[in-house]
Amino acid sequence: MRTRVSLFLALAWLGLVVSGALLAPILAGTAPSQVVAEPLLRPSGWPPLGTDELGRDEWSRLLYGGRATIVASLAATALTVAIGTAAALLAQGIGGPVDATVAGGSGAALAIPSLLLALLVVAALGPGFDTLVIAVGLGLSPGFARLARSALRRERGQPYVAAASALGSGRMEIAIRHLLPNALPSLLSLATTHYAWAIGGLTTLTFLGLAGEISTPEWGSMLNAARGYLRVAPWLAWFPGASIAGTILAVHRLGDWAARLRPRG
């Protein structure tokens, strides 16, 4: 019963965040980079969440910032899933040394914290918001590749694989036409969990200031900007902080739920 309540809460929160991001231009009222009132205004009346250190509308920044965070994390996750699934398919479709390389290589890369891996990518490509998306996507790829490979491997023991093999299907054909569709539910729940990690990774990198000079708001950089005003305007940290935390926890909850949907373990 309690788990159902938490799932409902997670879905409700994600619904709010997504509609806030989609409807930002309608809900915001003012542009996120526009100075609307005096700086560091308390949240009372208008603007609803007060103003930031430059006098910009915090409510508008939170909406547009969510848009940036959610979409960029989604793009990073898409990159992770694409690379990881391709590696897993190659590994299981060709087998032998390729499989060993994917397994060993992803294992070795996993030993490096994905934050450091992402930092290296930023170092090579130079700071910038687009770079961060690539960095987060690449940083999470080894882990996803490893888990996707095991998900495909688990299907290998099923009778229909032996049947397809007996009918003359090649390894790669079996991997693409049989293993992949059947492993899809596992991959989907893995992708959901990785989305939560991507949000954490992206906001961490923007928090570190690695997005460079960006004019559009983003939750992680908003949290970093609020750090200097914790004493006089703590709400500037509360709003983006609670948004990041709530979204990460909600996506994790969704991932747990998706993992349990699978008929077999």
């Binding site: 030993a111 490509l125 130079g126 700071p127 914790l230 940290a237």
Partner: protein, 320 residues
């Protein structure tokens, strides 16, 4: 896995030699990858200097000549490697100071933070894990379990800012606590850094307790008269300890990643801040030096952890 061939008593020392050889290869790979990765992907190392107007094209050309950046890449690589063997990590593009000196200057603060963070991880992780594992199906136990879950899920940046804000709020009510929020105080940064890994450690201990509290050997211990409570928990915990210890030895290397964020949250100087600033400036020699340091710390902790395991459990010696 091929079963290990019977060998005349591979002693711990030969395992050590093999491990050390592997560590050196890993270090060389990290150096090579970072050298070519940074040079090939990013192009002109002096682009940052030029675009910020810190050097005129003429000065840049002169600097390029002096730093040897005009030579072919392979020549530069060979020079970098020979320099490394002599303990020379190159010079910063910005300050022209030796990279080794710059890193050594900042290392102390980060090492201090990492050690304190590891201590916090053990302290908080053990408390949460023991409470969650031994008081299952009570409000306290599930609360500890949920706290461990939260600690693992939330990014360090978030918990760090939360801790800093809470400390400031407490400090306003009771000014005696205010010195804690100063940037040279170690307690809060260590707490923020430690909490992230504490959640995972708590999970391991909780899982171990859950698995073993009903196990036959624990029942036997109870029958022998071992008292409930801590003595019995210790019995149940022991099988989970090797896993917890190997987790912690890996975590020691991960802590270095966490320090990057913690140092930003609490405005502490250190290697993490140096790395972020060097990335932002495009100061390649410094980034490369830090990659080497991270790789060295990482491989050394692994060798040490493997050695400890091999000395403790002779069965592991043949598999290394």
């Amino acid at each position: 896995m091929v079963p290990p061939a019977p060998r005349p008593a591979a002693g711990a020392l030969s395992v050590f030699a093999r491990r050390l050889g592997l560590a050196l290869v890993t270090l060389w790979a990290a150096v090579t990858l970072s050298f070519f990765g940074l040079r090939l992907a990013a192009g002109d190392p002096l682009a940052g200097l030029l675009s910020q107007g810190l050097a005129s094209p003429q000065q840049a050309a002169e600097l390029r000549e002096r730093l040897g950046l005009a030579d072919p890449l392979l020549t530069q690589y060979a020079r970098y490697l020979t320099g490394l063997l002599q303990g020379d990590l190159g010079r910063s593009l910005y300050t022209q100071r030796p990279v080794g000196e710059v890193i050594a200057e900042q290392a102390g603060s980060t090492v201090e933070l990492a050690i304190a963070g590891l201590g916090m991880t053990i302290l908080i992780g053990a408390i949460l894990g023991l409470v969650a594992g031994s008081r299952r199906s009570t409000a306290l136990g599930s609360g500890a379990s949920a706290a461990a879950g939260l600690a693992t899920a939330l990014p360090v940046a978030l918990t760090g800012v939360l801790i800093l804000w809470a400390a400031m709020a407490v400090g306003r009510a009771a000014p005696a606590f205010l010195p804690l929020t100063r940037s040279d105080s170690l307690l809060l940064p260590a707490l923020a850094l430690g909490i992230a890994s504490a959640g995972a450690l708590a999970r391991i201990l909780e899982g171990g307790l859950q698995e073993n509290l009903e196990a036959p050997f624990v029942l036997a211990a109870r029958a022998r008269g071992v008292r409930r409570g801590l003595p019995l928990i210790w019995h149940a915990l022991r099988p989970a300890l090797p896993l917890a210890i190997s987790f912690l030895s890996l975590e020691a290397a991960l802590l270095l990643g966490g320090t990057v964020v913690t140092e930003t949250v609490f405005a502490r100087p250190g290697l993490g801040r140096l790395l972020v600033n060097s990335i932002l400036d495009g100061d390649f020699p410094v980034v490369q030096g830090l990659v080497l340091v991270a790789a060295a710390v990482y491989t050394l902790t692994h060798v040490a952890a493997d050695m400890a395991a091999a000395f403790a459990d002779p069965r592991l010696r043949d598999e290394a």
